[in-house]
C-alpha cells in the first residue's frame, strides 16, 4: 500500500513526464526530410541496380 505522500510524489512525477520522448529531440524538419529523401533514393537505386545490374 502506497502512502499518500508517495502517491502525490508519483502523481507530480507523472505530470512532469512528457508523453513522447521525441519531445527532447532537437532536429529540424529539413534534416529529417533530407534523411528520408536520401534514404529512399538510395534504396530505389540499390533495388534497380540489383534488379537490372546483372543484365
Amino acid at each position: 500500500m502506497q502512502s499518500e505522500e508517495e502517491t502525490e510524489k508519483l502523481k507530480a512525477r507523472a505530470r512532469g513526464i512528457r508523453r513522447n520522448p521525441y519531445e527532447n529531440i532537437n532536429v529540424s524538419l529539413r534534416t529529417l526530410d533530407i534523411v528520408i529523401a536520401a534514404g529512399s533514393a538510395a534504396i530505389i537505386i540499390l533495388l534497380l541496380l540489383g534488379i537490372f545490374g546483372g543484365s
Binding site: T7, L10, K11, R13, A14, R15, I17, R19, N20, P21, Y22, E23, I25, V27, L29, L32, D33, V35, I36, A37, G39, S40, A42, I43, I44, L46, L47, L48, L49, G50, I51, F52, G54, S55
Partner: protein, 339 residues
C-alpha cells in the same frame, strides 16, 4: 498556388516514401520478369510472411509499451526444434525419440512449443518488470540462452547434431496445405495468420490488457498512478507473445520441414523491422495490428522479389537496413511536424 501544390506533394512523398519504394520495386520486377505478377506468387509471399507475421504480432506488443525483443528468433528456433523433434515420422530410423512409435496428437507438440516460448518470455518479463533491466539487454541475454539451449538440444541426438527432418506427413499437411480457390491457392498458413491477427486485434483494442499496454507505452508513470498494474501488464504482454512465438515456431518447423541451429536466425530483426515499417513507434503507445501486417508483407515482398530475380542476397541486407532508418526518420518527422 504552385508552391502549395508542390509542398503538398513533398509532404505526401515524405510520409509515404516506403509505399513509393514498394511501388517502384514491383514495377521494376514486373518490367524485368512479367510473370512475377501472378496469384501463385502472391500466395507464396503471403505464406512466407505468415510465420514472421505471427512473430511480429508478439514483438509489436512489446514495442508498443517501449520494450523490444531481440530473442524472438532464437526462441522460435528452440520451440521449433521441440515440435519438430516430437513430430518426426515414426518410420524414420534416425529420429530423435525412437521410443515414440505411434504418431503423437498434433496438439501435444504445439502446446510444448508454446510452453517453451512462454518460459523464455517469462525470463524477459521478469528482468524488465521486476529487475527493471532494459528490454534490449535482457532479451540479448535470453537470445544467447535460447541459442545455447537449441544447440544443446539438437546436439543431444543419438547421431549427433543433424537437422530435425523427415517430419510426420500429417504435420506437413496441416502447415503447408492449401485451399484451392480455382484462380489461386490459399495456404493454410495465411488462415493461421488471419486468426492470430484477429485474436491480437481483439486483445489490443477490446481488452483492459490492451488498453493498459498503450497506457504504459504512452506514459508508464501516469499509467501506474492511474491504477494500472505495470508489472502484471508487462507479464501479460510477454506471455501473449510467448503463445504467438510458440504457434509461429510450430508452423515454421512444418513450413521449412527441417530444423537446424540456424532456424530463427534474424527472424527477430525481421519482426522488429516489420513493426517499425508498419508504424509501431519505438517511443511507445502507438501502433496498429494492420500496420504490423503491412510492414511484414512489405519486407516479404522485397525478400521474395529479389530472390525471384536471383538478385545478390547481400543487397537485401543493405536495403533492409536503409528501410529501417527511413521508417524511423518518418516516425520522428510525423511527430515533429505535428509539434
Amino acid at each position: 498556388m504552385a508552391d502549395t501544390e508542390s509542398a503538398k506533394w513533398k509532404e505526401w512523398f515524405l510520409n509515404y516514401s516506403l509505399y513509393v519504394i514498394l511501388g517502384v520495386l514491383i514495377i521494376a520486377v514486373v518490367v524485368k520478369e512479367p510473370s512475377f505478377l501472378s496469384f501463385n506468387n502472391f500466395s507464396k509471399i503471403m505464406a512466407q510472411a505468415s510465420t514472421r507475421g505471427i512473430l511480429a504480432l508478439g514483438v509489436a506488443g512489446m514495442i508498443v509499451y517501449t520494450g523490444t525483443d531481440l530473442s524472438a528468433g532464437r526462441i522460435l528456433g528452440c520451440a521449433a526444434a521441440v515440435s519438430a523433434s516430437l513430430l518426426q515420422s515414426v518410420t524414420y530410423a534416425s529420429r530423435m525419440y525412437p521410443n515414440i512409435t505411434e504418431p503423437l496428437p498434433m496438439i501435444v507438440p504445439l502446446i510444448l512449443a508454446i510452453i517453451v516460448s512462454m518460459m523464455f518470455c517469462c525470463i524477459n518479463a521478469f528482468g524488465i518488470s521486476i529487475l527493471k533491466m532494459h528490454a534490449f539487454i535482457i532479451s540479448l541475454g535470453t537470445q544467447l540462452i535460447a541459442y545455447g539451449t537449441l544447440c544443446l538440444y539438437i546436439d543431444s541426438q543419438k547421431n549427433g547434431a543433424q537437422p530435425l527432418a523427415s517430419l510426420d506427413p500429417r504435420y506437413i499437411g496441416i502447415v503447408n496445405g492449401h485451399f484451392d480457390l480455382g484462380f489461386m491457392q490459399l495456404p493454410y498458413l495465411v488462415i493461421y495468420l488471419v486468426i492470430c491477427s484477429a485474436f491480437m486485434w481483439v486483445i489490443w483494442n477490446k481488452t483492459t490488457t490492451g488498453k493498459n499496454m498503450f497506457a504504459i507505452g504512452g506514459n508508464a508513470e501516469a499509467a501506474a498512478v492511474s491504477g494500472v498494474n505495470v508489472t502484471k501488464n508487462i507479464f501479460c504482454v510477454y506471455l501473449i507473445a510467448g503463445v504467438l512465438y510458440g504457434i509461429a515456431a510450430f508452423l515454421e518447423a512444418g513450413r521449412v520441414q527441417s530444423v537446424t541451429t540456424a532456424t530463427g536466425l534474424n527472424y527477430d530483426l525481421d519482426a522488429i523491422s516489420g513493426c517499425v515499417i508498419g508504424g509501431v513507434s519505438f517511443t511507445g503507445g502507438v501502433g496498429t495490428i494492420p500496420g504490423v501486417l503491412i510492414g511484414v508483407i512489405i519486407l516479404q515482398v522485397i525478400n521474395y522479389s529479389l530472390y525471384y530475380l536471383n538478385v545478390n542476397a547481400y543487397y537485401q541486407y543493405i536495403i533492409k537496413g536503409l528501410i529501417i532508418i527511413v521508417a524511423v526518420a518518418i516516425d520522428v518527422r510525423k511527430y515533429i511536424a505535428k509539434k
